[in-house]
Amino acid sequence: MNSSCIIVSFSVLIIWLSSNVHKVLGQYSDIRCKCVCPSTEVVNGSKTERNLYIGNVPPDECNCDGVVLSQIGYDLKNKEREFCPRCECHYESRNTTTIRVVVIIIIWAVSLLVVYMLFLMCLDPLLNKKRSTYEEYRDEVTMEEPVSPVTPHQSPTPTVFNRVGQQQDKWKRQVQEQRRHIYDRHTMLN
């Protein structure tokens, strides 16, 4: 049941996220042209520490003229022809939507697991204690009255709950077994 819950919440999340894909802020656009140039001192321009120029331009304009000169043209003092060959421009694209969806899924998964872990650590021992005492009590009752009728306290959908409970118990036993191998007996994965 837990896994189906997770799947449902994820799919809802993904639908919601994909519906407002285009609301990403302008600062975080998906394309860029990145130019790396030496300092303008190389061509006796005015001193600047700047090496990196980023512009949001179409791929065919991703070059020194389109990105670098528009920003520091006045520093170069008409030495553009000498400066530009030293620049390396790359057109790059990314997909922030994928990053966003994946990161949100990971946050969800981690928090769900943490919540479930806390549940297993704190609440589950209490619940199990109650359940086991209840079952013991019922066992005693049935031993006293072998032909007792169906107990009225049975839940209306016993099969689903029982099956989930059984699955969970089975899984817990397996994890217990794994823990015994690794943490107690140190037979594996040392």
């Binding site: 140039c37 190389v42 994946v102 943490v114 140190h186």
Partner: protein, 833 residues
């Protein structure tokens, strides 16, 4: 139950009635022979199928096929046994058997021959049915392509999961330092990706806030440092703590690297739950957390485990693979190739890794499937583009420079150093793991992880090269210094006054010298902390830390060589290449060669490692340097200890792994290592028709053997077959449930027809579960031959006979114990069945 004393053995005569079918295979009494023929009878085209199988089996044998006469003989045995087994079942279909038969228990060894024979039988059944109708035809087609379909799905899923893990790690690793408040899902690089207000690469832009800035402290002073320090340590502890808690709560099997266990599983061992869905989920998330916590570990090894989990899960969609452990391992081999393919962006390297390092049984068919699976996985990851650099890995580099001959000397020196580092690491780590296993330390896994991550974080933060994520560090060390690099590592006294000049080698500045000091500290720290980190109870990979150590070492030697060439450009060894050339010795290339050497020293991989490294650099020009370094590192490593880290861990844990690459030179005979030894209690056997249900149940109760030989009678001791405990238990329970009139006195029949009168309660016929063709050897067979048979045929046990009479049994565990005993190790450290 029988008692075979050594005296009896000696006086046994060759029974003239025994027909020797093959050199050391099934031997039967005359009565048996007739039964055997009657079984063969209904199977019409026996000859053709037999010959077909001969060709098939030569293809499908495990690798390292030797051409010795002996080996050919063994092939014959295997083939015949397969034929016998399939014939003994051929009349009936598998689904008549009670469910669960043919499955294995947890921590058991599989019987490759039996499983492959089962699959062949199933295959023949489908081929036969194919002509009967359109539905059967479709089923036949589906069966034929299901292998390819399965690896396609595995590849797609592995690529997608790797993409998620890469993106998650990218995001989470920067959380230790700051956050991008407007778009919290972006890391520093992505946050500043399109902002035009930074002056240099790597600067943090206005949108990115460090934790100190987020608390309103904008000056760059001691307080900012302290706040960042505290937050860095805190986040490290939180991530590491979460990882270890999740692993402990949901899937303890998700800890560690996983490759030793995958190797063991692929060699034919069952570890239930090791490749399950919880392991997959927890390992993926734990990996993200562990890498982000800044611990000295990587995600590449665990990715192999993760993709094997995916392979296992998808194989259940196809009963052909899900229900047959030997066939399932073909899918797992392909999945491990996909794992490396996505971890390093090296599809071919992945296939070779699967072949060289993890797989045990690797027929050509699996090679092609692995190839396809790796291709699909790489394609999917590439289309996700997790790093935004159009490559599959963080540290993809392109070099264009040629190397000159004299550089081979530093490359080989790097190889030697890599081998030494690998040896130190393996010895130290094994000692520490052994200590953890035996001492109280093993009782506190959570505390251990927290302490290690606290120490790591506290020591890492002050040093810029250890503070950054390991993958980023590798990228930095691999890269060449460009025109605009202002990082201290690229602080050369360059003169750019003339634009037309090229980027020449230059004298190292103060920044480079300072970096060398910091890098030395980083190398020592990484080596020490990785020894203690590998083996803690979070997902820990080993590739990245080894690559980092090697890259640091390589970069330092590279800078040394570069300065040598700068100061003495006219030395004859440089062949004038550096007097004019552009960037003649690049330290980045040395870093790459060093990384390969160090990884080679730790894992002892050769071919696959070189291929992975040149796929990383996108150039085949550097194959020779890489090969030289890796070979040197392997030689040096092997001189100090034969085992790579994975084999050392297999040995430490006592997994029943028989290395098919090793050679064994022993002089013992089969009689010396079999059970029962001389003067021991007799072997527990079952007779073919005289035992009752009660007898069998008593045997099952009083012993814990995993299988029982079936003999003709206590008097004659002639071998009939072998029956597995699990099958016997299931079949008995099934017979009691379904067959009427079965009581304790009912006879158990392993023959086709009862020779006794049909008085008394109805007999239980268990012929179907009997393996009529167990592999047998004589008591005089040398142990080397026995070991070869176990390695190459993938056996679980062999029966030892003398003149056709059963003497004893040799299991894989017996052989492993014997090997350990002769290697002066504790034979009791082999733990499982």
């Amino acid at each position: 139950m029988l008692k075979v004393s050594s005296k009896d053995m000696e006086i046994m005569e060759t029974d003239s009635l025994i027909k020797r079918r093959t050199s050391h295979n099934v031997k039967m009494s005359s009565t048996e022979q007739t039964i055997y023929q009657s079984v063969n009878g209904p199977e019409g085209p026996l000859k053709t199928s037999d010959s077909l199988e001969n060709t098939e089996s030569t293809k499908k044998r495990p690798r390292y096929v030797s051409s010795d006469d002996e080996m050919i003989d063994i092939t014959g045995t295997g083939t015949t046994s397969e034929a016998n087994l399939s014939q003994s079942h051929a009349g009936s279909e598998m689904d008549e058997l009670p469910p669960g038969i043919g499955q294995y228990d947890d921590f058991h060894t599989i019987d490759w021959q039996r499983d492959i024979a089962r699959d062949r039988m199933r295959h023949r059944y489908i081929i036969k049915k194919r002509t009967e109708g359109i539905w059967d035809f479709v089923r036949g087609i589906h069966d034929a392509w299901s292998g390819w379909l399965c690896v396609l799905l595995v590849g797609v899923a592995a690529g997608a999961v790797a993409g998620v893990i890469d993106i998650g790690t990218q995001w989470m690793k920067d959380l230790k330092e700051g956050v991008c408040p407007q778009a919290f899902w972006l890391n520093q690089e992505q946050c500043c990706w399109s902002s035009n207000d930074t002056f240099n690469e790597g600067d943090h832009c206005a949108q990115w806030y460090t934790w100190a800035e987020l608390f309103g402290h904008f000056r760059d002073d001691a307080w900012a440092f302290i706040i960042s320090y505290i937050l860095y340590v805190m986040w490290s502890l939180v991530f590491a703590g979460l990882a270890v808690l999740l692993v402990r709560t949901f899937a303890p099997y998700a800890c560690g690297s996983g490759i030793p266990e995958i190797k063991t599983i692929l060699s034919g061992f069952i570890i239930r739950g090791y490749l399950g869905k919880w392991t997959l989920v927890i390992k993926s998330i734990g990996m993200i957390l562990a890498v982000s916590s800044g611990l000295s570990l990587g995600k590449e090894g665990p990715l192999v485990h993760v993709s094997c989990c995916i392979g296992n899960i998808f194989s259940y969609l196809f009963p052909k693979y899900g229900k047959n452990e030997a066939k399932k391992r073909e899918i797992l081999s392909a999945a491990s190739a996909a794992g490396v393919s996505v971890a390093f962006g090296a599809p071919i390297g992945g296939v070779l890794f699967s072949l060289e390092e993890v797989s045990y049984y690797f027929p050509l068919k699996t090679l092609w499937r692995s190839f396809f699976c790796a291709l699909v996985a790489a394609f999917i990851l590439r289309s996700i583009n997790p790093f935004g650099n159009d490559h599959l890995v963080m540290f993809y580099m392109e070099y264009s420079r040629n190397w000159i001959f004299v550089e081979l000397i530093p490359f080989i020196i790097l190889g030697i150093l890599g081998g030494l580092i690998g040896t130190i690491f393996i010895k130290g780590n094994i000692m520490w793991c052994n200590y953890r296993k035996q001492s109280l330390l093993g009782k506190y896994p959570i505390t251990e992880v927290l302490v290690i991550s606290l120490i790591t974080a506290i020591i890492s933060f002050p040093n810029i090269y250890t503070r950054m994520n390991s993958s980023d560090l590798i990228k930095l060390l691999f890269s060449q210094c460009g025109v605009a690099d202002i990082s201290p590592l690229c602080d050369y006294n360059r003169n750019f006054t003339n634009v037309n000049s090229r980027i020449e080698i230059a004298e190292a500045g103060a920044g480079v010298h300072r970096s060398l000091g910091l890098l030395t500290l980083a190398l020592i720290f990484k080596l020490c902390i990785t020894i203690f980190t590998f083996g803690i109870k979070v997902p820990t990979g080993l590739f990245i830390p080894s690559l980092v150590m090697g890259a640091i070492m390589g970069r330092m030697i590279g800078i040394g060589m570069e300065q040598l060439a700068y100061h003495y450009p006219y030395l004859w060894v440089f062949q004038g290449a550096c007097s004019t050339g552009e960037n003649c010795l690049s330290p980045g290339l040395y870093a790459m060669v060093g990384a390969a050497a160090c990884l080679g020293g730790v894992t002892r991989m050769t071919v696959s490692l070189v291929v992975i490294m040149f796929e990383l650099t996108g150039s085949v020009k550097y194959i020779v340097p890489l090969m030289a370094a890796v070979m040197a590192s392997k030689w040096v490593g092997d001189a100090f200890g034969r085992r790579g880290i994975y084999d050392a861990h297999i040995n430490l844990n006592g997994y029943p792994y028989m290395d098919s690459k090793e050679e064994y030179i022993y002089t013992a005979l089969a009689a010396d290592i079999m059970t029962p030894r001389r003067n021991e209690s007799p072997l527990c056997v079952i007779t073919q028709e005289t035992m009752t249900v009660d007898d069998i149940e008593n045997i099952l109760k009083s012993t814990d053997h995993n299988g029982f030989p079936v003999i003709v009678s206590q008097e004659s001791q002639y071998l009939v077959g072998f029956v597995l405990r699990k099958d016997l238990t299931l079949a008995l329970a099934n017979a009691k449930k379904t067959q009427e009139g079965v009581v304790g006195e009912s006879h158990i029949l392993f023959t086709a027809h009862s020779s006794q009168s049909s008085l008394g309660p109805p007999a239980v016929k268990l012929r179907k579960i009997l393996d009529m063709a167990p592999i047998t050897i004589t008591d005089q067979t040398p142990v080397e031959t026995v070991i070869d048979m176990f390695c190459k045929l993938g056996l679980r046990q062999v029966l030892v006979i003398h003149n056709g009479r059963l003497l004893g049994i040799i299991t894989k565990k017996d052989v492993l114990r014997h090997i350990k005993q002769l290697g002066n190790e504790d034979p009791e450290s082999v733990l499982f069945n």
